[in-house]
């Protein structure tokens, strides 16, 4: 493997400038993206870039760990939680706390400037690279340190991890506190509340579409909200087919007229319900 030089090579420089920009963009994406999912993905990107930088800095072990643990485990954990929680959690970026955003921006800027100033006038001219440190192999070097100098911290970290695992379990595992309500009670409650006593209507229209993401149509041809999963609606992943179906209906009638050879005295107008369909149907349709 490459014995790392004190000063970085031009190749590294190119790599730095390219990936550095990617990292920054990823970071910005993390904080600017509207949906949590996108934030998570852009963060993952940044982390991968950082992993590359670790490798470039001679921290081979860390680079790998970064990819495996962070991008592999932690970010996936994030994504899971987002799936679990965050479908509706596309929070609008408009600020609620007065002046919070300006304060944040100002402070962030000032802080960054301070840090950079600090680094700037730190005397970091000469690099005595990791050549001899990594002589016996990076992993071996780290292991030597961990199991000698930092062994106590290491043990403590182990304890910490155990505790964290147990803690997570305790937090998320819900104990059933009250007796489960029997079916009878549930039905009685439903009747009492007077909402949707029978089971929810099935999706799909006239059994021609049998996908879950297609709302069933009411007799007048308008789609019914009840027939589709609210999560899908929240994600806006609903296909609305009411218009086509109405058109088909009309075509059918015309054909039947022609077939019956009757003069077109009165033609039933297409009901305007298609225009009156809820908003998310439209954008759902756009997707």
């Amino acid at each position: 493997m490459i014995s790392l030089a004190a000063a970085a090579s031009t190749g590294e420089a190119v790599q730095f400038w390219l990936l550095g920009i990617v990292a920054v963009v990823g970071a910005l994406g993390t904080i600017l993206m509207k949906r949590a999912v996108h934030s998570a993905l852009s963060l993952a990107g940044t982390m991968i870039v950082l992993a590359v930088f670790y490798l470039a800095n001679g921290a081979y072990f860390l680079g790998v760990v970064q990819i495996v643990v962070y991008t592999g485990a932690i970010m996936m954990l994030f994504l899971f939680v987002v799936m679990l929680v965050g479908v509706t959690a596309a929070d609008s970026l408009k600020e609620t706390l007065k002046g919070q955003r300006w304060l944040a921006a100002g402070l962030g800027l000032g802080f960054g400037i301070l840090l950079i100033a600090g680094i700037g006038n730190a005397s970091l001219k000469e690099f005595n690279g990791l050549g001899e440190a990594n002589a016996g192999g990076n992993v071996q070097g780290l292991a030597a340190l961990i199991f000698t100098k930092y062994v106590f911290a290491f043990e403590v970290t182990g304890a910490l991890l155990i505790t964290a695992a147990v803690g997570a379990m305790v937090l998320t595992h819900r104990e059933r506190t009250e007796r489960a309500r029997t079916q009878r009670e549930q039905s009685e409650a439903r009747v009492r509340e007077g909402k949707q006593v029978p089971p929810l209507p099935a999706p799909g229209v006239y059994a021609r579409h049998n996908a879950v993401d297609i709302p069933g149509l009411l007799p007048d041809g308008t789609p019914s909200e009840l027939t589709v999963n609210p999560t899908l609606r929240a994600r806006g992943q609903i296909r609305d087919v009411s218009r086509e179906s109405l058109a088909e209906l009309k075509a059918l009638e015309r054909r039947s007229e022609d077939w019956l050879g009757r003069g077109s005295g009165e033609q039933p107008e297409a009901p305007p319900s298609g225009g009156a369909s809820p908003k998310e149907h439209k954008e759902g349709a756009k997707k």
């Binding site: 944040a104 962030g108 600090g118």
Partner: protein, 648 residues
């Protein structure tokens, strides 16, 4: 023998304790008990007097040291008595007149349910007064000094249910306190100057210190004397003090207590001799007061207030004499004694008149009383003759000597003082004649109902508020009251003559108060002649004004001076405006300041603390992200600080 001295003070003191703590069971016998103790004290005094006469002039002073009172560092006060000729004179006067007045009071206070307490107070007064004149150091004298003040406070305000009486008592005590301030400062000065304040060392070593210090001491003593002896400018309390029962006025505010100032100055003669400026102040005060009192006496229609004015003026004579130094001391004391006799007599007479006239004090409601109360008339008349200095009576001898001494002061000062004294004699003759005429001669004005009068507060308002008017039935007082009057009358006739038989009195006092013959610019006979002349003049004018034509039962508006004099020459108005009102405003404003400023400052800090914390509380919005902002701010500050530390 000297062990008896303490007895002088102890007897009345025990009496006072018995009567005041004795409770109801002593109500019936209380007055006799009180009189007994006073008489006992008098007896002891006489015994000591006899013993003293038995010894040669220079060894007459007795001394008794009871115990050390306050020993702190160099400061040492003893409870010790000193009985020399001067003290002896006072002891006899006080106990003698005191006993007589006790007897008189038995009759006068007969119908008062608090008579026992009255006698208790009288005994207390005697004890304090004797302590005053027997003390051998200024601090013990101060105790007696305040003690008589307390007794006079209690006795003036004896009829406490009358607000006027209570107010008068308070006023007397307060004005006296001002004087006491002078005395205490004088004592402090003595302590810092001589390291002691016992008569012996202080008076013996006046030469050892600067005249300035002595002048200061003298002036302070003078202030004290002014307070106690009702001299200008502290004289205002004496008139109101007449609210007290008449025996009190006779004993305390005529014969004994008010003369304490004269005693103080005479006793401190050594100091004044060494401080001429102080002496000048003394004679000035004396001269002014003797005129002041006389003028006030002319205008008053209240018989007791008129007599009070005369007391003031007579004491003015004494102070004047005492201020003249060795040529005057003896005569001051002599006049003091004779005055004690006749003024006490006059007051008792006035009391007896009031006793017969349902406590009417307005002389304009008297008139022609001589038929109804002959004994009172005679005794009062003798007292009257004595005080105006009718040749042959005691007042003549003492006052004449004082006038001589005043002239003998020498220089223009002498002329001024002598002139003042003469003028005073004339006015004295005038107002005393006025009192005499208005009371015992003329028509009987008390027969018809009084008409309400706007500017005469001294008229008893009760009379006209009641619709029907029952004229009083003037009658002679019982024996127990007339007897003391007779005795005093005798005293006021012969005392003066007795004293001046080949200057017996002067010789008697000479070892204590050094004596020097004064040499008036004009011969003594001329002075005497002048005195008699002005005396006749005064009497004549008074007769023209009040004897010839009838006295209006309602006071005429009178001249400006008269009206001023009725109001004590505006002294009270001055006091009222300056001290009472001004003081009132001062205190109220101070209360405001205390509340707003001093207290407000504290409360203000507390309030501002509250406001500040309220402001900080706003930061705790409870929103995690605002806390995060604050954290980041803190971090930024830390980084900046570190960078600055490293000197960026």
């Amino acid at each position: 023998m000297e062990n008896l001295i303490a007895l002088l003070v102890a007897a009345p003191l025990v009496g006072a304790a018995l009567l005041l703590c004795g409770g109801k069971r002593l109500d019936r016998t209380g007055h006799w008990l009180g009189t007994l103790f006073a008489a006992a004290s008098f007896a002891v005094g006489v015994a000591l007097f006899a013993d003293m006469l038995g010894r040669s002039a220079d060894h007459r002073a007795l001394h008794q040291h009871l115990f050390t009172w306050i020993p702190v560092g160099g400061f040492r006060a003893d409870v010790a008595f000193q009985l020399d000729q001067l003290s002896m004179t006072f002891v006899l006067l006080i106990t003698g007149v005191g006993s007589l007045i006790h007897v008189y009071s038995i009759g006068y206070m007969e119908h008062d349910e608090r008579r026992r307490r009255f006698f208790g107070y009288l005994n207390l007064f005697l004890a304090a007064m004797l302590l005053l004149v027997l003390a051998d150091n200024y601090l013990l004298l101060y105790v007696g000094w305040e003690g008589v003040g307390l007794a006079s406070y209690l006795l003036i305000g004896f009829w406490q249910h009358k607000p006027s009486a209570a107010t008068a008592a308070k006023k007397a005590f307060l004005v006296n306190r001002v004087g006491d301030m002078g005395l205490s400062i004088a004592i402090m000065l003595m302590f810092t100057t001589f390291g002691t304040f016992a008569f012996g060392p202080v008076l013996a070593s006046t030469g050892a210190t600067s005249e300035g210090k002595l002048t200061a001491i003298g002036l302070m003593l003078l202030l004290a004397a002014c307070g106690k002896s009702a001299q200008v400018p502290l004289q205002s309390w004496l008139g109101d003090a007449m609210e007290g029962p008449t025996p009190v006025s006779a004993l305390i505010h005529a014969a004994t207590m008010v003369t304490a100032g004269v005693y103080l100055i005479t006793r401190s003669g050594a100091i004044f001799n060494a401080a001429p400026d102080a002496q000048t102040a003394v004679v000035a005060v004396g001269a002014v007061t003797l005129l002041f009192g006389a003028i006030v006496g002319c205008a008053k229609d209240d018989i007791k207030k008129a007599l009070a004015g005369s007391t003031m003026s007579q004491i003015g004579y004494m102070i004047l004499a005492a201020g003249l130094g060795p040529i005057g001391y003896a005569f001051a004391i002599m006049h003091l004694v004779t005055h004690g006799f006749f003024k006490a007599g006059l007051f008792l007479g006035a009391g007896s008149v009031m006793h017969g006239m349902n406590d009417e004090v307005d002389m304009r409601r008297y008139g022609g009383l001589r038929k109804y109360m002959p004994v009172t008339f005679v005794t009062f008349g003798l007292g009257y003759l004595a005080i105006i200095g009718f040749p042959g009576l005691s007042g003549f001898f003492s006052k004449d000597k004082i006038i001589e001494a005043a002239f003998a002061k020498g220089g223009t000062e002498g002329w001024i003082l002598g002139g003042a004294a003469l003028l005073g004699a004339a006015i004295t003759a005038f107002y005393m004649t006025r009192v005499m005429l208005m009371t015992f001669f003329g028509e009987e004005r008390w027969r018809k109902a009084p008409t309400p009068s706007p500017d005469q507060p001294s008229v008893e308002p009760a009379a006209e508020t009641r619709g029907e008017y029952a004229p009083p039935h003037p009658h002679e007082s019982p024996k127990v009251m007339t007897l003391p009057m007779i005795v005093l009358a005798i005293g006021s006739v012969f005392a003066g003559g007795l004293f001046s038989l080949n200057e017996a009195f002067v010789k008697w006092l000479e070892p204590v108060t050094s004596f020097a013959h004064g040499h008036p610019p004009v011969s003594a006979t001329t002075v005497t002649a002048a005195t008699i002349a002005v005396l006749l003049l005064g009497v004549g004018v008074a007769w023209l004004m009040y004897g010839r034509r009838p006295v209006p039962s309602l006071a005429p508006r009178g001249s400006l001076l008269t009206r001023a004099a009725r109001r004590d020459l505006l002294q009270d108005d001055f006091n009222d405006i300056v001290f009472v009102r001004g003081g009132g405003h001062l205190t109220t404003t101070l209360v405001q300041l205390d509340h707003t400023l001093v207290d407000g400052a504290v409360n203000g800090t507390a309030a501002s603390m509250g406001g500040l914390s309220g402001l900080l509380r706003q930061l705790q919005s409870g929103f995690v992200r605002s806390y995060a902002v604050q954290m980041l701010g803190g971090a930024a500050v830390l980084v900046a600080a570190t960078l600055l530390m490293r000197g960026v």
